[in-house]
Symmetry: C2
Subunit: 440 residues, 2 copies
């Protein structure tokens, strides 16, 4: 039997994500990110489409590599302004029954003692529907505003290992099963002998005490991760239950899936229990022509400058100082810097280099980078999603949108029924907590 296709929707609590310029598309009310109504409606739409989860990306700074300034980000509403996404979750949870919620939270700034309480609280209030996307923040602008200097890349991950160790002790070891007795005869709410100090003393953290929360339905939220560097993959293999992959080719996806599963096996884990979700951007039409027309209409709003400002953050190179020729040369080098190899793959996949200048590039960045675009009828998109899944071993998709609400509305009403008819997307939710729903 074909593997079930799991679906997550990608959102952020800000006006514009990777879809640079598309906030201008008619009817795209991006400013609704500030309204509870928007989030509640979205959650209900996704639950109607039997999505597994809403995946909240997040950053704690502003993109300021391009032109050495945050002006482009501010003007374009690109990833900025950005609210704390965690606060949409309780309202969405109250309006749904099954949908999971994956919250991105950095291991670099909030103290694990406080983060553990926050996650336990959300897992309680959602009745066990929480996931945590663990990120090591990599923006200098964030570190500066915390009055800190960034640790170097690998040390961030070393510290991350210890951070997770603290969280694990708080969530899994501090409270025994059965510690909360609520014994009204003997007047015992919780048995002090079954609640334990974790006594953590490490290189980065000292947390002697007990977890502030009684055990939540899942104790540990489902752990997501998205790192693709060598150190990031090692971290994922050790800790993550779900991996979010940035869009890329079949070959690269297949490599990453196998690589991380092999590493996980070395940690004694069952490699099949790690789920992979590449990001895709669907553009849907009732006919192929309609879909292409829709893509054309959307691209008319894309912003080259916005796209380059994104690319500048992803690569660390200020593209305002780079000519078209230099950009192509740079990309052709296929360096191993973050994002760069994807670009290289992207160029190859799209027939080489010369015909792809900055303008064309930016149009494709209007859809969140490279390789994520899926254009066609519901059947064609369903075909593409099934094939990519079967060829690469991924377990489903993180679906991003071109325009707020509309993309998800269309995907749920048009593509999901096709995938359900083919037995790939669930018709009903499984019972139980998020981890059980995802892993079966």
């Amino acid at each position: 039997m074909a593997k079930r296709m799991r679906l997550n929707a990608v959102e952020m609590a800000n006006p514009v994500q990777d879809n640079a310029g598309l906030w201008l598309y008619p009817g795209n009310r991006v400013e609704r990110y500030k309204d509870l109504d928007y989030w509640i409606e979205l959650a209900q739409t996704l639950e109607r489409g039997k999505f597994d989860a809403l995946f909240f990306a997040d950053i704690l700074g502003v993109y300021d590599v391009y032109q050495g300034s945050r002006d482009t980000a501010v003007r374009e509403g690109m990833y900025f302004p950005i609210n704390d996404p965690s606060y949409a979750i309780p309202a969405m949870a109250a309006a749904t029954e099954h949908l999971g919620f994956v919250l991105t939270a950095s291991l670099s700034y909030e103290h694990p003692y406080a983060l553990a309480r926050k996650m336990s609280t959300l897992d309680h209030l959602t009745d066990g529907r929480l996931g945590w996307n663990m990120v090591m923040s990599n923006l200098d602008s964030t570190a500066r505003n915390y009055g800190l200097k960034q640790l170097d890349h690998d040390e961030r991950y070393n510290r991350g290992d210890e951070y997770l160790e603290v969280c694990h002790k708080l969530w899994e070891e501090s409270w025994e099963n059965g510690a909360v007795v609520r014994d009204r005869i003997n007047r015992i709410y919780a048995d002090p002998a079954k609640v334990h100090e974790i006594g953590h003393e490490g290189k980065y953290f000292k947390v002697p005490g007990i977890h502030l929360c009684e055990p939540s339905p899942q104790r540990t939220p489902v752990l997501f991760q998205a790192g693709s560097s060598d150190r990031g993959r090692e971290f994922a293999a050790k800790h993550a239950e779900c991996i979010f992959l940035n869009a890329m080719t079949e070959n690269e996806t297949k490599f990453l899936v196998q690589d991380i599963r092999q590493r996980a096996e070395r940690y004694g884990r069952n490699p099949e229990e790690i789920l992979f979700f590449p990001k895709i951007n669907p553009v849907i039409g009732d006919t192929e022509e309609e879909a292409q027309q829709e893509l054309h209409n959307l691209l008319a709003y894309s912003s080259p400058e916005g796209a380059l400002s994104l690319l500048s953050v992803w690569t660390g190179v200020d593209f305002s100082t780079v000519s078209s020729d230099d950009l192509l040369a740079f990309i052709r080098k296929g360096e191993q810097r973050s994002g760069t190899n994807y670009l290289f793959e992207f160029f190859k996949r799209n027939g080489g280099d010369e015909e792809w200048g900055i303008e064309q590039l930016s149009k494709y960045f209007a859809f969140g980078g490279v390789g994520s675009l899926r254009v066609g009828t519901p059947e064609q998109i369903a075909d593409q999603l099934e094939q990519f899944m079967d060829h690469t071993g991924v377990d489903g998709y993180n679906i991003a949108y071109a325009t707020r609400s509309e993309t998800f509305e269309q995907f749920v009403s048009k593509v999901v029924p096709v995938l359900q008819h083919r037995g790939r997307v669930q018709n009903e939710y499984a019972t139980g907590v998020f981890r059980h729903k995802l892993l079966g």
Copy 2:
């Protein structure tokens, strides 16, 4: 015309607060603090009663002064376990239209750059219904779990002054009015020239950048504070718009109201714009006899040990090592340590000392300390609330409960109508944001 009586409900995201032992009262389902349904129902009850706000107290540690151990707190469910209260707010906001939400958050641990985003987000999502109760955490157990040592009392407040300065700059100065233009013709989401780096460099914080959120309806949440020490009152007079007073005698209340208003005047503030809310615990009956019977029934469940463990935290004295006689001697000294002078006042008010042993004391601590109890028919309670208000100059009350849901249900259905009939409690909410509703 008599001043409007403002009403806030006091809650925490934990099983038991100051009402030690009362979780055992039949039907008191304290464990519902983990359920969204509980919070949504409560918010709707309070809005039916035209309450101004739900006031969320919070702590980030566990009480462990009594017997030098956290065992009593764990066994009694006293302030522990404790979830993050902020996450109940969005679900309650979605289910109500006017009710305000006051969130306690410490200035001692979370970085102001992150706290400012959290508060702006909640103010956006609640459409301007947020208040912030600013506390300087004072539990050693919290500091230890953050790997820190506590600053001394006055330095905590000095740091608090700078903390608020950072928040003020982020909320009020970083984004000009009109910075968010959403100009679809010129493709400008926000005007970079109207968004400003705050450039904060102080003794405790360096925050060079811009606020992550566009201006929320109130920008700055309504500022609450509860400090009663000399330094705490100075802080309140400088910053707070609302003051939460722990229950105490008329004379002491009157003194504090006048003292803080005078200090505020020295900061150039209008002293009448600072609102005071003492805490009260109502016990309501249809007849006086019924009310006294209800009090008797409740007290049968009170926990002397739980009360002493609270008292130990408030005074810093481990009362497990103190005999009844020593306790009375200690209290009679009326020392200026936190809480001690209230105890002294309490003893005087209740006719002296000898007849009040630890057992009797603990029963009154079953209602959150001293002076807060109001027992009687709805009319009698209304009388007491009106008189205390008129004699002391306070602006309303923070109402605590004996048993979860039931106390507020009774207060809303029985006492509020009497107070509305007398023209003291509002019949309809004013329009506008929380600050406008509170201050008119």
